[in-house]
Amino acid sequence: MFGLPEDLITVIWTLIKIVVIVAPLMLGVAYLTYAERKIIGYMQVRIGPNRVGPKGWLQPIADALKLMFKEIILPTGANKMLFVVAPVLSIAPALAAWAVIPFDDGLVLSNLDAGLLYILALTSVGVYGVIIAGWASNSKYAFLGALRSAAQVVSYEIAMGFALVGVLMAAGSLNLGDIVRAQEGGFLNWYWLPLFPLFIVYFLSGVAETNRAPFDVAEGESEIVAGFHVEYSGMTFAIFFLAEYANMILIAALASVLFLGGWLSPFAGVPLLGDMTAWVPGLFWLLMKMSIFLFFFLWFRATFPRYRYDQIMRLGWKAFLPVTIFWLFVEGIAIYAEIGPWFDGVLGA
């Protein structure tokens, strides 16, 4: 093509695909902050942003512009290199993980067979950004935030991992596309039903992983001010912010793919409705499912008080972990017994 070497074309083509994924994602992050402020606003009997642009629609743009023109302050005594690297470390995995998310049948940047492992690895790397930020800031508040975050992410990673093992067992594959295809059928064929406890544990661990309320001890507004990013300003702060929201969207996407049948229509197999909605693209269903999860993220924030640091750990180790392990046993038995429609044929495959 155009006389270019084959390799170069692959590289260019991949770059284009990355832009096509990341650009809407960044826009999604911007408008997720707007949605958050509006939705929580209405939950709290107020209006939310309504000054910039019609109905406040340009507010996120204004915020982004403001942050870009702010000075980046390097605190005295901070480790300058790590201080700047930390936000990068925190956003890179949040974006890289999108490479294996299937948006529709076959619509995926990289059809990795070890997709689930890749996701697990990347979401755990994100915490290094937080820890390094807390350490490099040379501030006691940031340091406490980093310590809390490290402990929290490590313990929730395990529960989350076990929940993923459950999906792996049911689907018999680490490829996210295959996992979705294994859920084919209708609303009741998706894994949320047979793996219900794992589904709940996965989503709540996801909330904890992204440091969102009620698990937001790493930022703990009223305790340690802003936790690990207390010393950050301007774009360095904005990148942490982007990473947090990109992670929220990622968790929502993963929960949809793993437990709610990704791009599959909820009406498939339903007599009349299934045919009527057959023309709707899979991407639409995926986005709808993600929106539901994102709404829950916001709803939690408006409703719940914050957990204490040790209570989070207790919940992770003493509640979530045993629940997942127990359910893995139940699932194992179900697979042996070949209980349909979810577990029949898993053994043979």
Partner: protein
């Protein structure tokens, strides 16, 4: 390897949970608090000293600025001390109005406390719900005194003016739609008393709304049960008063133990806690709001039936009615003297205290016979509560410090004075 040392954290004065300007020096072992050392004085405005330079009435507005979330109760203690020294009789209607506004103030204060306490613990929404109701009560302040916060409504001898016959309404403008206007003016068609009654009818339902979000919430309970426990004996030793001592199970309430104004004629209960932890104090304050609501209702009923004077007739210590001043020489002279020289209080001393939303708030006046106090001493409940900081947080975690600050309901206007 070097020895592991505790580290010190400077908590405040610029901190989202410092409730103003509290500065805590926390000695911590990891997340656990070994010692908490509150530093105060960052909002010191020398109120007591300022009062020595001014005639008695000019100090009333200073009282508003002590505990700036329960303004009228502060005034109440001050004017009661003056009345005690002058042996001044207050008309019954004025007493009822004072009691009613004391209780409105209690609700105002407790709503502020609830909102900030919940916000400190991480529940954001309660805060905004509370401020919605505070708005109505602030409007009541404004209706009777002209000011939404610093009312200066209580005067020695009674209150500044009788309750207005009309409740002010929101006016239309280009930013307020017809629908909003109608909602905002709901209940404001009649007199101020009608609006207060309307509020008392709505308010229990609204308390239920806050309780739905918090009382049975597992996270809220985990964060407050068994946190900052103060046993009854210790509470007494530390000089606790108000909801802080009642949370520990001691039914100490000045409204019952040393009834002032018309509290002995009213029907209300004193809620007490059992364990003396943050959760019990939360329940006590929630129940207190319901009791205050009951008291307000009784006051409204009485005030409807009994019109009358709201200021003492002794014109040496209370201003003459405006109409008389236009014709009577005597009244004109009284008016002039009252507003320039003020009145002198005979030599002596007195202490009077009210059951302030935060505890026992009292003022002590020592007079040398002049028209200004020789010495004014203010007993602020928050000061005693804050001194217990170390006892309350020792061994708890950093996040509990925030919950304890919230449960103490500290306001630095009164602590630093």
């Amino acid at each position: 390897m070097s020895e592991v040392k505790n580290f010190t954290l400077n908590f405040g004065p610029q901190h989202p949970a410092a409730h103003g300007v509290l500065r805590l020096i926390l000695e911590m072992d990891g997340e656990t608090i070994e010692r908490a050392d509150p530093h105060i004085g960052l909002l010191h405005r020398a109120t007591e000293k300022l009062a020595e330079q001014r005639i008695y009435n000019q100090s009333i507005p200073y009282m508003d600025r002590l505990d700036y979330v329960s303004m009228m109760c502060n005034e109440h203690a001050y004017v009661m001390t003056i009345e005690k020294m002058l042996k001044l009789e207050v008309p019954e209607r004025a007493q009822y109005i004072r009691v009613m506004f004391d209780e409105i103030t209690r609700i105002l204060n407790h709503l502020m406390w609830l909102g900030t306490h919940a916000l400190d613990v991480g529940a954001m929404t309660v805060f905004l719900y509370c401020f919605r109701e505070r708005e109505d009560l602030m409007d009541l302040y404004e209706a009777v005194s002209g000011a939404r916060m610093h009312a200066a409504y209580y005067r020695p001898g009674g209150v500044y003016r009788d309750l207005p016959d009309v409740m002010p309404k929101y006016k239309p403008n280009r930013w307020r739609s017809e629908k909003d206007l109608k909602r905002q003016n709901e209940g404001r068609d009649g007199s101020v008393l009608d609006f207060i009654e309307n509020f008392t009818e709505r308010f229990p339902g609204l308390i239920d709304e806050y309780e739905t979000l918090l009382t049975d919430n597992r996270i809220w309970k985990q964060r407050t049960v068994d946190i900052g426990v103060i046993p009854p004996d210790l509470a007494k030793q530390l000089g606790f008063t108000g909801p802080m001592i009642r949370g520990s199970g001691i039914a100490w309430d000045l409204r019952r133990k040393q009834p002032y104004e018309v509290y002995d004629k009213l029907d209300f209960d004193i809620p007490v806690g059992v364990n003396g932890d943050c959760y019990d104090r939360y329940l006590v304050r929630m129940a207190e709001m319901r009791e205050s609501n009951r008291i307000i209702k009784q006051c409204v009923d009485w005030l409807r039936e009994n019109p009358g004077l709201v200021m003492a007739a002794d014109q040496k210590v209370a201003p003459p009615p405006r109409a008389e001043m236009k014709e009577g020489m005597e009244s004109l002279i009284h008016h002039f003297k009252y507003f320039t020289e003020g009145y002198s209080i005979p030599e002596g001393e007195a202490y009077a205290a009210v059951e302030h939303p935060k505890g026992e708030f009292g003022t002590y006046i020592l007079s040398d016979g002049a028209n200004k106090p020789y010495r004014l001493k203010i007993r602020a409940p928050g000061f005693a509560h804050l001194s217990a900081m170390d006892d309350m947080v020792k061994g708890h975690m950093l996040a509990d410090v925030v919950a304890v600050i919230g449960t103490m309901d500290v306001v630095f206007g009164e602590i630093d004075r």
